[in-house]
C-alpha cells in the first residue's frame, strides 16, 4: 500500500471519527422519541444545525491539515531519507542526509550520517591498506627485477612445466649466444616469458636435476641445489646451478614437506674458464712431460761423457747432443711462457669496465676527497679495461694525494689511450718530476688517503692487474706523468650492454602469473584468451600475389603473454627475396632494394621465425594473406606453421559487425589507440598486438572467452562476409 492510499484512508477515518459519534447519537435519540417530543426535538435542533455543520467541517479541515503535516514530516520525510540513504550506500558515497523536519527525524538523519561517516573512515582505511600492500608488492617486484637485471650471472626462473617466468639481461645475452640463428632472431626464439626452457636445454637433463632436488627435499637435506655442466647447441660449456622455488606453505595439514612450484637456474658460461684451464694444463704438460725426453737425452749424454774410454769423435757427439738439447729446451720454455702468458696471469677477479667510466670515477673521487681540480685530456670512449676498480681508484687517489701534498700539484689531467691488448692510463701534472727513488717509495708504501688506510701498496694494485707503472717526463711542456699499463677488455663483449640501454623503460622480464599455468589441465582450445601466449606478426612483401611469385621481404613479430605486450621480445628481420621489388610496393613498405642486399634469404629466416612462434597462437591482421606466404614455403623449408591462428580483422567483424571498415587504421581509431611506427613489419605487428589486447575484454562482453569460441565466432563472421 503506497503512501498516498494510506493518506486517503487516514483522511476518511478522520472524517468518520468526527461525524460518526454525533450521527450515531442523533439516530439513537431520533429512534427513542415519538410524536410531539420528536417535533420539539426537530424544532430545538434545526436552527443550530448549520452552526454544528460549520464547526464540524472546520474541525475536520483542521484535522486533515494536522494529519497531512504529520504525514509529510514523518512518512514522506522518512521515505525521502531512505532514498538518500540508498544514494549514500551506492552511487554517491559522499552524499549526506539533509537534516530537516521534526526533531525525531533530524535525530535519525544525524545517526545515519554518523554511521556513513564511520563507514567511510573504515573504507578509506581499508583502501589505503590495500594500496599500501599493492605498492609494496609492485616495489618488491621492481626491486627484484632491477636486482636481476644487474646480476652478472644469468638467472632464469621457470615453473615445473619448464616455462620461463623470469629472466635477466645476462640470461638473454647468454641465450642469444646459444642460438643457432643469433643474427636473425637474437636468441628471442629461445628465451621469452612463457617460452619453454626445453628449446635450449635437454628436457631429460632438467628432469634428472629436478629429481635429485626432490630426493634431497624428501630427505630434508640442508643443501638442496643441483649442479651440472652441459653443452649448448652452439658448443658452449655451461655450468648450471638449479635451486627449487618452494610453495610458501606446506601443501597439506601435518605435512612437513614443502611443495616445489618451480625452479631457478643460474647459468655460468665456463667455456672460457674451461679453455683457460685446459691451456694451463697444456702448458704444465709441455713444461713437464715435454722436457722429460730432452732431459733424458741430456742426462744420458752427460753420463756418457764421464766414461774415460771415450774417443774424441764420440765425445764431440755427446757434447753436441747436450748443447742442442739445452738450446731446444730454452726455446721451448720461452715459447711456452709467451704462448701461455694469459693463463699465467694472477687470477684476481677483474671486472670489465668502460675506460670512460673508470676515469669518471677517479675524477669524482679526486675532486671530492682531495679537492684537487681535474681535467680530461683525451679519453678514448671506446676503450674497455679489465680492472679491480676499487683498488685501482684507491691507488690513483693515493698518487694524486702525494703529488698534491709533497709537490703542491694544483691540477691533474687524465688521459686514456689504447695500445693493442693494453690501455695507457696517464696521470699528468704541470711542473717538476720527482726522483726515481721517491716514485719507488710511493709505489712500495702502504696506501693511505684522506684518513683511509689500505694494506695494499700501489705495486700490489698494479700487480693485481698484471700491469706496470712508470714515471715519464715531458721536458718540453714542462710536465710529467705517471703511466699505468692496464689490460684491455674485448669491446665486442659489450655490444649487448649498449643494446640494452637503447630500450626505453623497464623491460618486462618477469611474469609470476605464469606460476599458475599448467599445461596438462587445459586443452589449448578451451583455454581462456587471457591465458594464452601469442605471436603477433606482420609481413612486408614484394607484392600481393604469393602464388604469382611474390616473396616476403620482412617479418616483424612481437609476443603477448598473459595479456601483456612484450616489446623486448620482438623479432624483426629483413629478407633478401632474390627478385626485384615492384616499384609500386616501395612506397607502401618503405624498403629500398639496397636495404635487402646481403640480408639472409627466406630459408634461413623461416626456421628462426618458426622457433620464435613455437607453442604460441599466431595473430595477424588479415592473417590469411600472411599465412598464405608462410604456407607456400612449407615444401621448401619442411617447416609447418600449424599453430592456431586468430585474425584481428575477423575479430573486429565479430565485435562490430555493422562497421564499414575493418582496416587496421579504422580499428585503431575505433578503439582509441595511439599509433607509433606503423608500416614496418614490427610496427604493424605491435599495433595489431595492441588492438588484440584491447579486443580481449570486448570479446568477453559478448560471451567469447576461450580460443575455441573466438575461432568459431571468427569463422562465422568470415562466412557471413563471404555470403555478403
Amino acid at each position: 500500500m503506497n503512501a498516498r492510499t494510506r493518506f486517503i484512508i487516514a483522511v476518511v477515518v478522520l472524517g468518520l471519527l468526527m461525524t460518526g459519534p454525533f450521527l450515531l447519537t442523533a439516530s439513537l435519540i431520533w429512534v427513542g422519541t415519538e410524536g410531539a417530543s420528536r417535533a420539539l426535538l426537530v424544532d430545538t435542533i434545526m436552527p443550530h444545525l448549520p452552526l454544528g455543520t460549520v464547526i464540524t467541517v472546520f474541525g475536520f479541515g483542521l484535522g486533515v491539515i494536522v494529519v497531512r503535516n504529520l504525514f509529510r514530516q514523518y512518512v514522506k520525510g522518512l521515505l525521502r531519507m531512505s532514498e538518500q540513504q540508498h544514494l549514500m550506500l551506492g552511487a554517491n558515497r559522499d552524499f549526506r542526509i539533509e537534516e530537516k523536519g521534526p526533531p525525531e527525524v533530524r535525530a535519525l538523519a544525524r545517526t545515519a550520517n554518523a554511521l556513513a561517516e564511520q563507514r567511510d573512515e573504515y573504507m578509506r582505511d581499508v583502501e589505503q591498506q590495500i594500496a599500501e600492500a599493492q605498492r609494496t608488492v609492485v616495489e618488491e617486484k621492481n626491486r627484484l627485477a632491477a636486482l636481476m637485471s644487474e646480476l652478472t650471472q644469468s638467472v632464469v626462473v621457470c615453473n615445473l612445466d619448464g616455462r620461463i617466468l623470469l629472466y635477466n639481461t645476462r640470461a638473454r645475452q647468454q641465450f642469444k649466444a646459444m642460438s643457432d640463428a643469433p643474427a636473425v632472431a637474437g636468441g628471442g626464439e629461445l628465451i621469452g616469458l612463457g617460452r619453454s626452457l626445453y628449446a635450449a636445454f635437454d628436457r631429460n637433463l632438467i628432469a634428472h636435476a629436478l629429481e635429485g632436488i626432490r630426493h634431497r627435499l624428501a630427505r630434508n637435506e640442508a643443501e638442496i641445489q643441483a649442479n651440472f655442466v652441459t653443452t649448448s647447441r652452439s658448443g658452449q660449456l655451461l655450468r648450471v646451478q638449479m635451486a627449487p622455488v618452494l610453495a610458501s606453505e606446506p601443501s597439506g595439514a601435518g605435512e612437513t614437506l614443502r611443495e616445489m612450484t618451480g625452479f631457478i637456474l643460474m647459468l655460468d658460461d665456463i667455456t672460457r674458464n674451461f679453455e683457460t684451464e685446459s691451456r694451463r694444463d697444456q702448458m704444465l704438460h709441455t713444461l713437464t712431460e715435454g722436457n722429460r725426453a730432452a732431459l733424458a737425452n741430456v742426462r744420458a749424454a752427460a753420463e756418457m761423457l764421464e766414461f774415460p774410454d771415450l774417443d774424441e769423435d764420440l765425445r764431440i757427439r755427446f757434447s753436441t747432443v747436450i748443447r742442442d738439447e739445452i738450446k731446444a729446451m730454452s726455446e721451448r720454455l720461452d715459447n711456452t711462457a709467451n704462448e701461455f702468458a694469459d693463463a699465467l696471469k694472477a687470477r684476481w677477479p677483474l671486472e670489465d669496465m668502460s675506460g670512460a667510466d673508470l676515469i669518471a670515477a677517479v675524477k669524482r673521487s679526486v675532486e671530492n676527497k682531495l679537492k684537487v681540480p681535474t681535467k680530461l685530456e683525451g679519453v678514448d670512449e671506446g676503450l674497455w679495461v679489465k680492472v679491480d676498480s676499487f683498488s685501482l681508484v684507491q691507488a690513483l687517489l693515493f698518487l694524486v694525494s702525494r703529488l698534491s701534498d709533497e709537490f703542491e700539484v694544483r691540477e691533474i689531467r687524465f688521459r686514456l689511450t689504447g695500445a693493442g691488448r693494453l690501455v695507457h692510463l696517464d696521470l699528468i701534472w704541470q711542473g717538476q718530476a720527482m726522483s726515481t727513488e721517491t716514485v719507488m717509495n710511493w709505489e712500495l708504501e702502504q696506501m693511505s688517503v684522506a684518513g683511509e688506510n689500505s694494506p695494499l701498496t700501489v705495486r700490489d694494485v698494479i700487480d693485481r692487474h698484471d700491469g706496470e707503472i712508470w714515471l715519464e717526463r715531458e721536458k718540453v711542456r714542462h710536465r710529467a706523468f705517471f703511466r699505468l699499463l692496464l689490460p684491455a677488455a674485448n669491446p665486442q663483449e659489450h655490444v649487448d650492454a649498449i643494446e640494452k640501454s637503447e630500450h626505453d623503460g623497464r623491460p618486462e622480464y618477469y611474469d609470476f602469473d605464469l606460476f599458475k599455468w599448467s599445461e596438462r589441465s587445459h586443452e589449448l582450445d578451451d583455454r581462456l584468451l587471457t591465458d594464452l601466449t601469442y605471436t603477433v606478426f606482420d609481413t612486408e612483401t614484394t607484392g600481393l600475389n604469393p602464388a604469382g611469385g611474390d616473396e616476403i621481404i620482412q617479418i616483424g613479430a612481437t609476443r603477448v603473454v598473459n595479456g601483456k605486450l612484450l616489446r623486448q621480445e620482438s623479432f624483426e628481420q629483413l629478407i633478401d627475396p632474390k627478385r626485384r621489388l615492384s616499384p609500386e610496393s616501395i612506397p607502401i613498405h618503405g624498403i629500398q632494394p639496397a636495404m635487402l642486399v646481403g640480408k639472409p634469404t627466406i630459408d634461413k629466416v623461416l626456421p628462426a621465425f618458426h622457433a620464435f612462434a613455437a607453442d604460441t597462437i599466431l595473430i595477424a591482421h588479415n592473417a590469411a594473406f600472411d599465412m598464405r606466404f608462410l604456407q607456400l614455403k612449407e615444401a621448401m623449408t619442411g617447416l609447418r606453421f600449424d599453430n592456431p591462428v586468430l585474425d584481428t580483422l575477423l575479430l573486429s567483424a565479430v565485435l562490430h559487425p555493422n562497421q564499414e571498415s575493418h582496416r587496421l587504421e579504422a580499428i585503431v581509431e575505433r578503439l582509441n589507440l595511439k599509433i607509433v611506427g606503423r608500416h614496418t613489419a614490427l610496427g604493424d605487428a605491435i599495433v595489431t598486438a595492441e588492438v588484440f589486447i584491447k579486443m580481449i575484454p570486448l570479446l568477453a562482453d559478448i560471451g567469447i572467452f576461450t580460443l575455441r569460441q573466438a575461432r568459431e565466432a571468427a569463422e562465422k563472421s568470415f562466412y557471413a562476409r563471404v555470403k555478403y
Binding site: A293, A296, L314, D324
Partner: protein, 123 residues
C-alpha cells in the same frame, strides 16, 4: 754368448747414448726408429731385450709391447719400457700390457744398465 739388445726410439739424441752404453756393456745392439720397424726387427733378430720408447711414430710403444707379449714365439723377448710420461697411470698401463720393467725419463744410465742386467740374468 752375447745378449742381443734392440733400442727402439725415434730420438736420435738418446739413441747415441744408449747405443754407446749397451755396446760398452758388451751387448750386441740393433736400432729401430719407429714402432713398425721395432716389430719387424724383433721378429727378425729375436733380441733378448728391447729398450722400448713409448712415444714413437707409426706405432707407439704400448702397441709394440702388446704385440710382442701376445705372440708366443716372442715370449723370450724382455721389454723394458722407457717413457717421458711420468704419470702413474701410464706406468700401470705399461706393466699391465706385459712390460717387464718400466723407466721414466730422465733416468740414470747406471740404473738402466743395472735393470738391463738383472732382466737378462733372469733368463
Amino acid at each position: 754368448m752375447t745378449n742381443k739388445i734392440l733400442i727402439a726410439d725415434d730420438e736420435q739424441n738418446i739413441v747415441i747414448s744408449l747405443e754407446f752404453l749397451m755396446k760398452r756393456e758388451g751387448f750386441e745392439v740393433s736400432i729401430a726408429q719407429d714402432g713398425e720397424e721395432a716389430i719387424n726387427r724383433i721378429r727378425a733378430d729375436m733380441p733378448d731385450l728391447v729398450l722400448l720408447d713409448v712415444m714413437m711414430p707409426k706405432r707407439n710403444g704400448f702397441e709394440v709391447c702388446q704385440e710382442v707379449k701376445a705372440d708366443p714365439a716372442l715370449q723370450a723377448v724382455k721389454v723394458l719400457m722407457l717413457t717421458a710420461k711420468g704419470r702413474d697411470t701410464e706406468v700401470t698401463k705399461g706393466l699391465a700390457l706385459g712390460a717387464d720393467a718400466y723407466m721414466t725419463k730422465p733416468f740414470s744410465t747406471k740404473e738402466l744398465v743395472e735393470k738391463v742386467r738383472s732382466l737378462l740374468s733372469g733368463i
